[in-house]
């Protein structure tokens, strides 16, 4: 199963756009930094990991770069926005989770 914490420790192909922040600020960063935004329910699984946040939770997709941006929350450290690579077939699955119907 995909574990984001392990991925971040073992890889160097990701970006952290903001860290130790509140959810609201992270949502804004995602909306401002991705060409395509979809909104999902809290608790949805993306790449096998639960998305933690206040619904509708924005998730950014950059198909050209092949990356996804989403909030990553830890109880003592607040919320970060991470951008990691995502395979094309997973992008299709993420789009299916959109709750805003656009």
């Amino acid at each position: 199963m995909f574990c984001l914490e392990t991925y971040l420790q073992e890889s160097d192909d990701y970006d952290i756009l903001i860290s130790r922040a509140g959810f609201k600020d992270c949502a804004k960063i995602i909306e401002e930094n991705a060409p395509e935004i979809i909104y999902v329910n809290a608790g949805e699984k993306i790449l096998g990991a639960r998305i933690i946040g206040i619904p509708p939770v924005p998730v950014g997709l950059n198909e050209e770069k092949g990356t996804i941006l989403f909030p990553y929350t830890k109880p003592c450290y607040g919320t970060a926005v991470v951008e990691i690579p995502i395979p094309n077939e997973e992008i299709v699955k993420v789009r299916d989770l959109n709750i805003k119907g656009c």
Binding site: A49, R50, G53, P55, P75
Partner: protein, 154 residues
């Protein structure tokens, strides 16, 4: 047997650990099997205070818990909230479980307290127990007792 999940946040606020023991004690007296989900550091504090596990019996890491969680796995969710991250965790657990829920919200700063209350009430149907509290858990305990009495009566 009914099942309750007690969700703990970052343990830096002193009120959380004694309230977690108290909430577990009350729920067990009401016949609930109680599971406590927390960070390793919050769990260490509970384990030192309750070395023989008289109160805290079933423990799980908060991130392992959320990965395995399914709708209906618990009859009652009680979450401790005194940080922005804890609001996100509580709302997420609530969304997955879709069950009766109580948010215990506590903060020193009245503006933050109000902000957390607003987010929880806008995003969930959870009942809210809130107080300006940091070192002293008594205001929270008194309000929690009132809420749990109502729950027992229904």
């Amino acid at each position: 047997m009914k099942k309750a999940l007690v969700l703990l946040g970052c343990p830096e606020s002193p009120s959380q650990t004694p309230m977690a023991v108290y909430v577990t004690y009350k729920l067990k007296n009401m016949g609930y099997e109680v599971t406590t989900a927390s960070t390793p550091s919050a769990m260490k504090l509970l384990e030192v205070g309750d070395p023989e596990g008289h109160y805290i019996e079933n423990k799980i890491d908060i991130d392992s818990c959320i990965e395995k969680l399914d709708e209906g796995a618990f009859d009652l969710l009680i979450g401790f909230i005194h940080k922005d991250a804890a609001v996100s965790y509580f709302v997420t657990f609530y969304s997955i479980l879709n069950t009766t829920s109580i948010a215990i919200i506590f903060e020193k700063d009245p503006e933050k307290l109000e902000e957390f209350e607003n987010i929880v009430s806008e995003s969930t149907d959870a009942k809210i127990v809130s107080a300006r509290a940091y070192h002293n858990p008594t205001p929270l305990r008194v309000r929690f007792d009132k809420m749990i009495k109502k729950l027992e009566e229904n």
